[in-house]
Point group: C2
Chain length 174, copies 2
């Protein structure tokens, strides 16, 4: 059980749980089983691709070839996942990853929180975890491309759109 | 001289020179030595960091620690350089690099063309070279962050700003 071992033994997941206090947070959401629930973060890359696909399905994303998803995870600088832990069960409820040059820039992709867990501040907690990890690697320029309905969410986290007129631009193959 | 060996023997640099026909292009710019000049592209990463710094100085960029520049080049998915070749001399006149997850996304950074070589279509040639290399790797989503004065340049190359309201956003450490 290498996955669990790494997961629970990494200082970051422990400290993230401690510092964000999700046990209380989840309890406040009114779940009768909340007392036994914990929300845990991990940078472990050994994620079950089918479980990740299920999470992405839940928010209505188009399916992508798992072979490419696997490759993208392998070549991301940071892979962050958020889990609901109840007893010895765990469920993937959030995900984000970032590409980077390991020096100056990081770009965050594929931020997703399961609909059952939205509206509880967990998206913000996941992003804080991502930013904390990127800062710890001395990345000074963090970027992302936000869909219109989440621009205000990211603005609330300190992201700026078009700072000094800089425009995010896209090119797709013809 | 591993650098030169790789440089001249890579199929991409040869084909890029052939297909873009820069010898004629440069000749049209009125340089009396144009007949002996060639513009060559390379994906070789073994770039002299001082030469790159000189190029970036020429366009007025803030200096960055060479240690970090080295790391960023090592961890970029693609490093593209543009060279003026005259006899057995070569001069770095353009540069660009891209981060990527090797599967879906690539983000282009640090696009620079030496001022002496601007206004000759070489920036466009460099970007075409970059896009060709990214396409050959099956990257389907190419992004960049454009300063206001180059937004139209990238638009002319098929880049779209804020497609469907998607906003490029930035976060900097406080």
């Amino acid at each position: 059980m290498g996955f669990w071992k790494t997961w629970f033994s990494t200082p970051e997941s422990v400290s993230a749980t401690k510092t964000t206090g999700f046990e209380d947070h989840t309890a406040a959401a009114g779940d009768p089983n909340a007392n036994s629930d914990r929300i845990v973060f991990s940078t472990e890359r050994d994620i079950d691709l089918y479980e990740l696909e299920e999470l992405c399905d839940a928010v209505g994303w188009s399916r992508r070839p798992l072979r490419k998803v696997k490759k993208a995870i392998e070549h991301s600088f940071l892979v962050a996942s958020m889990w609901q832990v109840r007893g010895n069960q765990r469920r993937l409820i959030g995900f984000a990853r970032a590409t980077s040059d390991h020096a100056f820039n990081a770009t965050i992709w594929d931020v997703v929180v399961h609909p059952d867990f939205q509206g509880k501040g967990l998206g913000k907690a996941l992003m804080k975890y991502v930013l904390k990890k990127l800062r710890s690697e001395e990345i000074s320029n963090v970027t992302l491309f936000a869909d219109p309905h989440v621009v205000d969410f990211y603005r609330g986290m300190g992201f700026m759109s078009d700072p000094e007129g800089i425009k995010g631009m896209f090119w797709y193959p013809h």
